[in-house]
């Protein structure tokens, strides 16, 4: 399959970003029910799901080239977004191997991996990269293996080392994050880095998730969806850059909220890495304006209900307090209150030019 990339998109300043109709329809919409609450919503990461976003281990879409350029820009301004502790070298090679193999298998038109023993050649045609190197010898690559390959992938990545019956976030490439800092969290244990999340600790979500992940097996990756909302299609909503994006929330009006407010969904995947026994955590970020989401009838109605009834602590933690009512008011005219089927598949194959208000 050949993907038509949109290399001129931007995720800052003039925000030249949009989703094609096909990109809207493949959005990994995260709400199977009308109400949202934390749960251990983990499922096997096998090909296939509600939309084509779930078809491959690592999803590549029309924003790939622009997202890789945005990552390079963030790293240039702030190299601390990529950190790898010294004991993670085996996990770095694991990551490179997994990403190269997966991308070359999923998208042969765009990526090619050629191997003779430990002599590898990697071709990334969308980014114009071709490198030959010795697998296992970091001096033969232009960058350390983890940074080298995650600069060529969409979404953030962290590496969790497993020891003392716990997981430690000991490496990461984090430039498209929903307000958390790798520089702050690096080296933390599982419960430490999840410390700020409300309600879920009391529900035992993290205890269960940790026990599950400690037994995660090679060859049996899992995934879950997480979500928040972002004003403007901005990938880098980091604590480090809060002064640049925090004020965006004050710019929303009833007139512009449909275009400016984006549902931000993270398709999170977890892979046991075979050489290091570490876990690779992929956080693939998707942005879609609520105006576009409402063009999918089921999604517009459901998003309205989820936001309307959201637990106040979750609403606050996700940073939606200031604009939630305005977003609910924007979506209300598209929701007739009819009962909706469970699940997240769009249930339509084309999109109307704009969502139409419905009779209540």
């Amino acid at each position: 399959m050949t993907i038509q990339f949109k290399p001129d998109e931007t995720f800052r300043d003039d925000f030249r970003y949009s989703n094609s109709d096909a990109a809207v329809l493949r959005f990994p919409f995260p709400f199977p029910e009308d109400a949202y609450m934390y749960s251990v919503n983990i499922e096997p990461h096998v090909p296939g799901g509600a939309t084509p976003a779930f078809d491959n281990p690592f999803d590549v879409d029309e924003h790939y080239v622009a997202e890789c350029r945005e990552r390079a820009q963030v790293l240039e301004q702030d190299p601390s977004r990529c950190k790898v502790l010294p004991h993670m070298m085996a996990a770095q090679w694991d990551t490179l191997e997994l990403l190269m193999e997966s991308l070359a298998t999923s998208y042969p038109a765009h990526f090619t991996l050629t191997r003779e023993g430990t002599s590898w050649t990697w071709e990334n045609r969308p980014l114009g990269i071709r490198d030959s190197f010795t697998f296992g010898d970091a001096s033969t690559l232009p960058l350390p293996p983890f940074e080298y390959i995650t600069r060529q992938a969409q979404g953030d990545f962290t590496l969790q080392d497993q020891r003392d019956d716990n997981l430690f976030i000991d490496a990461g490439m984090v430039t498209t994050q929903a307000d958390w800092s790798l520089d702050f969290d690096v080296g933390m244990s599982f419960h430490q880095w999840h410390g700020p999340v409300p309600l879920a600790h009391q529900k035992g979500v993290f205890d269960r998730a940790l026990k599950f992940l400690l037994r995660l097996q090679y060859g049996a990756p899992v995934r879950r969806l997480n979500w928040t909302m972002t004003v403007n299609p901005r990938l880098d909503t980091s604590p480090e850059n809060y002064p640049q994006w925090g004020p965006d929330r004050t710019t929303l009006t009833a007139e512009n909220i449909g275009q400016k407010l984006h549902l931000r969904v993270e398709l999170q995947s977890l892979f046991r890495l075979p050489r290091s026994n570490a876990i690779l955590f992929g956080i693939r970020c998707y942005l879609c304006s609520i105006e576009d989401l409402a063009r999918v009838e089921l999604w517009g109605k459901r998003l309205h209900r989820v936001l309307r009834d959201l637990h106040p602590e979750i609403a606050d933690y996700k940073g939606t307090t200031r604009f939630r009512e305005m977003a609910v008011a924007y979506l209300a005219p598209f929701d007739d209150g009819a009962e909706l089927p469970a699940g997240t598949a769009p249930r339509q194959s084309t999109l109307p030019p704009a969502a139409l208000p419905v009779e209540r």
């Binding site: 983990i42 096998v46 085996a90 296992g136 599950f212 049996a220």
Partner: protein, 318 residues
């Protein structure tokens, strides 16, 4: 949606006797290509077709080649075993194809350790052959104490011949007292690993603990890990009116699915809680991470993906 355990077909590239009871096997992929990658401490679970059943025996990988050209194990022929080691020693020849699960690792190296101290007994050396290769490649300090019978000393010396004599210590006496001094002189930041007969592992761990080693620095090999399978039982699905036989190697959930009944599930690992079903009769054997103590004790709920039955019949509200 189901994630089934992947099975690979391996061809025996070499089967070389090392001693009357030790045999080394090298496997390559039956269909060409590369074997899956692995790390130090990983094992392979081989499917061994012995008369009447298939044994799933786990063997430590003795190396983790960067180029993924092969997998290697060493098998001791165990007198009076269930038959797996005898099968490998007597029946399996060069060129034969054997099925195996993907490599799994329940005995990984601690990557933050500044130094690694290993104590093995007999065939328990095998995971440490992979460890030592990794330590040598990374330049991490290590020390090995291997205990074996005098008649096998030369075999193990041969396996370790390429490494500096100063790091390799082979003992042919049964007394572990020599470890006292070894354990006492290790610098802070050392991790201790042991693999071999249970008696040796327990004794070595006890000595270390008595000398004040923190438990989190003491590691022993165990193929137990995630419990799979168990005693067969019958699940009675009350609503569907079906009786489902749950075999020794099948999960309750898989047996229900095989019977054509749709059962809720998500993670298939005992964590998410989706597959929770009410138990009407019988006593579950809980293996999940989801139920709390009170719920377990009530015996009224079961997570079908990992848990089984303590009673011959388990009646479910499904």
């Amino acid at each position: 949606m189901t994630a089934r355990p992947r099975i690979m077909a391996l061809r025996v590239a070499a089967a070389i006797p090392l001693s009357p009871t030790l045999k080394a096997f090298t496997f390559i992929p039956a269909d060409g290509g590369l074997v899956p990658p692995s790390g130090p401490g990983a094992h392979l679970r081989l499917n061994l077709p012995v008369p009447g059943r298939t044994l799933k025996n786990a063997y430590s990988l003795i190396s983790n080649p960067q180029d993924r050209s092969h997998h290697s194990i060493i098998v001791r022929r165990v007198a009076g075993s269930k038959g797996g080691s005898a099968f490998l020693h007597e029946e399996v020849q060069d060129g034969d194809v054997i099925e195996a699960g993907l490599p799994a690792n329940l005995f990984p190296v601690v990557r933050t350790a500044r130094r690694h101290l290993m104590v093995s007994g007999g065939i328990g050396l095998t995971p440490f052959l992979a460890y030592i290769a990794a330590f040598e490649a990374a330049g991490t300090p290590w020390e090995l104490h291997h205990f074996c019978r005098p008649d096998e000393r030369s075999v193990f010396e041969g396996l370790l011949a390429r490494y500096p004599a100063s790091k390799v210590n082979i003992h042919c006496d049964v007394d572990l007292a020599v470890l006292e001094e070894v354990l006492a002189r290790q610098p802070l930041g050392t991790h201790f690993y042991t693999c071999g007969p249970a008696l040796l592992m327990d004794s070595a761990i006890e000595r270390a603990a008595a000398l004040g080693w923190p438990r989190s620095r003491l590691h022993s090999e165990s193929f137990g890990g995630a419990a799979e399978g168990g005693e067969p039982f019958i699940a009675v699905l009350r609503r569907s009116g079906l009786e489902v036989m749950v075999g020794a190697d099948t999960s309750l959930l898989a047996a229900i699915e095989a019977a054509g009944v749709e059962a809720p599930c998500l993670c298939r690992g005992g964590a998410c809680g989706q597959c929770l079903i009410e138990v009407a009769e019988g006593i579950p054997e809980h293996r999940d991470h989801f139920l709390d103590g009170e719920e377990r004790a009530s015996n009224r709920l079961i997570m079908t993906c990992v848990s089984r039955s303590r009673t011959a019949r388990l009646v479910l509200d499904l």
